[in-house]
């Protein structure tokens, strides 16, 4: 029987997973919305970030939170190099070329990580203050999941404020809605995109580190979760922070619930649902009308 506390704990677990999905995917949504660039390699940055975070914690002994910050900075810097040297050449290329290039990049990174670090799964050692259970009054739940929900909500709130209330956020929104008009108004799209790309990749790195504990971290990561990240972005709508937030939470909770109560065909439903949703609203559940 499913009782109240079961539903609550299912919700909490799903929300925690959804937060990780959100943190990884939000950058992808904004960069895809800005440039219309089909970036299948976004998960690769999340994986690289996860490796930076896990390995620096293990070998340099730095704490979890500083490691997350370090992962963000390193991957943001690395992604700027990739963006300037490689991605920028393909903004005007066909979709097929973008798909090929980013699949190639995924293969390359998978192989590089396998060669340098090894093919095995990397275990993240949570600091002691995040281990164990937390008593929420009604239900006891894993401290780490609660931590993820709190951190994810804070990040979502911060991003929303940045998106809606700052000058740069307004520029990004303008560029997503109508890039040519934004360019004619004097917004430097190239620079805007570079910064967003770096920021989004850095967020993906944090997501990779935060999720490593329960969705795993191995070289195949970018391929395994590619469909999930893309579904979140497609359902949430391109270039919509709030849309991606709700889409990630819905998919996180659904996936968690289906895997628990319908372990056989859970993923099947997610795919079927995504197909139906995209047919019904090709611009995403929360996306605006395409211009």
């Amino acid at each position: 029987m499913i009782v109240g506390t079961d539903i609550l704990s299912m919700l909490l677990g799903g929300l925690a997973a959804g937060m990780v999905l959100f943190i990884v995917s939000v950058g992808l949504s904004v960069t895809m919305g800005l440039m219309g660039f089909v970036n299948l390699a976004h998960g690769a940055f999340a994986m690289l970030g996860g490796y930076v975070i896990v390995l620096t914690m293990r070998y340099w002994g730095i704490g979890f939170v500083p490691a997350l910050a370090l992962g963000f900075v390193v991957i943001a810097a690395v992604s700027i190099v990739f963006e300037r040297l490689l991605y920028a050449r393909l903004y005007r290329a066909s979709e097929l070329d973008q798909v090929l290039f980013t699949i190639g990049l995924v293969f390359f990174m998978i192989a590089a990580v396998t060669l340098i670090v090894g093919p095995e799964n990397q275990q993240l050692m949570l600091p002691s203050w995040l281990q164990g259970q937390l008593d929420l009054g009604i239900v006891q739940y894993r401290t780490y999941s609660i931590f993820l929900i709190v951190v994810g909500s804070a990040i979502a709130l911060g991003l929303w404020l940045g998106f809606e209330r700052t000058r740069m956020g307004a520029q990004i929104r303008a560029a997503v809605d109508n890039r040519r008009m934004a360019e004619s108004l004097g917004i430097n799209i190239d620079r805007l995109f570079m910064l967003t790309f770096a920021f989004g990749s850095g967020m993906a790195a944090i997501g990779g580190g935060l999720g490593a504990e329960f969705i795993g971290l191995n070289p195949q990561y970018p391929l395994i979760y590619l469909v999930y990240f893309l579904i979140v972005v497609a359902v949430g709508g391109l270039g919509r922070v709030t849309g991606v937030f709700f889409a990630a939470l819905i998919i996180g909770v659904l996936d968690f619930a289906l895997k628990k109560y319908l372990p056989q065909g859970g993923t099947l439903f997610i795919y079927a649902l995504a197909i139906l949703l995209l047919l019904w609203r090709p611009q995403g559940l929360f996306g605006g009308k395409p211009t």
């Binding site: 089909v38 490689l86 090929l100 699949i103 579904i231 065909g265 995209l278």
Partner: protein
């Protein structure tokens, strides 16, 4: 006959002649026959190679000619494969030639149904939908463990002799090789005829300028759906061949790996040019046959680099590079 002045126009002559057989066109088939006699010990590899050529050819029809950017073409390969595999495993039907027809019909039907719904979309949505459709089928095959064998698939399928005469010998796959070569030849003739027909020309038109095709009154959506269905059916034949010659079916027949592989093969050779599938498959399969088993990680690294280089510098694949090279040589020899 039209006015003599007009039909003498170079463009008119090129258009009239473009479907004619070129002198080099028998070459791939001679080579394929030569392979049979020259490498009797590598015919298993040769059979796989021919199947991948057929699969890439089917993708060329959708991607190269009609411009449908799909990430889920392995769905149809897998549909044909599982159709034949399931029928053979459960003892319903296992005759090879009719098996191909069944594989084509099942894959074509799935192509038709998904084409009817998916092809209204474009861009990222279309990519996502093709990807999700494939993932859906893969998950369904994984889930229906009772019938499909789940992750392990169905091994040791009973495939009777071809025409009741020629036994498929797993150790000396001579019959398989010639069988697949014959099927590839028939399918190739069909695709060649198709792309040079008015139908094929209208597909190219849709790829190049969909607005104009709408404006001249071409039934764009139906053309795309028809093309997608035919392409799916041919991919289904390739999948059916794969099962019949390997006598097993498993999940590798419809995953993202296979979809990515066939895409790589096609762009490596050059898409939208019929023979790109041949060149790409030969290059890719030969490289992977010799490198992938010995240095799997280095192979993936190289493959990734290769893909990035193709996307950045060689958008028309090996054949495109060849054309450019020949164009440069010829223009040097004959100064304007």
């Amino acid at each position: 006959m039209s006015a003599p002045g007009l039909s003498e126009h170079p463009a008119a002559r090129a258009m009239v002649a473009r479907h004619r057989l070129r002198a080099w066109e028998p070459l791939p088939w001679i080579l394929a026959f030569g392979f049979y006699f020259a490498f009797p010990n590598h015919l298993g590899f040769g059979t796989d190679l021919l199947i991948m050529i057929l699969f890439a050819l089917s993708l060329d029809l959708a991607l190269g000619y009609a411009g449908i950017v799909t990430l889920g073409h392995a769905a149809f390969f897998g549909a044909g494969a599982y159709a034949v595999g399931l029928l053979a495993h459960h003892g319903v039907w296992n005759e090879p030639i009719t098996g191909l027809v069944i594989g084509a019909a099942v894959a074509g039907l799935i192509g038709l149904i998904s084409g009817l719904t998916l092809l209204r979309t474009t861009g990222l949505t279309l990519l996502m939908l093709t990807l999700c459709t494939m993932a859906l089928l893969e998950e369904a095959a994984n889930m229906g463990e009772k019938y499909t064998g789940g992750f392990d698939g169905l091994p040791n399928l009973p495939i009777p002799p071809l025409f009741g005469l020629f036994e498929f010998n797993p150790l000396y796959p001579r019959v398989q090789y010639l069988y697949v070569l014959g099927v590839l030849f028939v399918c190739f003739l069909f695709v060649r005829m198709l792309v040079y027909s008015p139908f094929g020309q209208s597909l190219t038109g849709i790829r190049e300028n969909v607005l104009r095709m709408h404006a001249v009154g071409a039934p764009v959506n139906w053309r795309l759906i028809t093309c997608y269905t035919i392409s799916a059916a041919i991919a289904g034949v390739a999948g059916a061949l794969w099962v019949q010659t390997n006598t097993y079916v498993n999940l590798t027949s419809l995953g993202l790996d296979r979809a990515a592989t066939v895409l790589i093969i096609l762009v490596l050779g050059g898409y939208g040019r019929l023979y790109g599938a041949f060149v790409g498959a030969v290059v890719y399969m030969a490289l992977s046959h010799f490198l992938a088993k010995v240095y799997p990680t280095a192979w993936q690294l190289g493959l990734g680099l290769l893909l990035m280089l193709i996307a950045l510098f060689a958008r028309n694949g090996v054949l495109g590079l060849w054309d450019r090279l020949m164009g440069r040589l010829l223009s040097r020899r004959a100064p304007p």
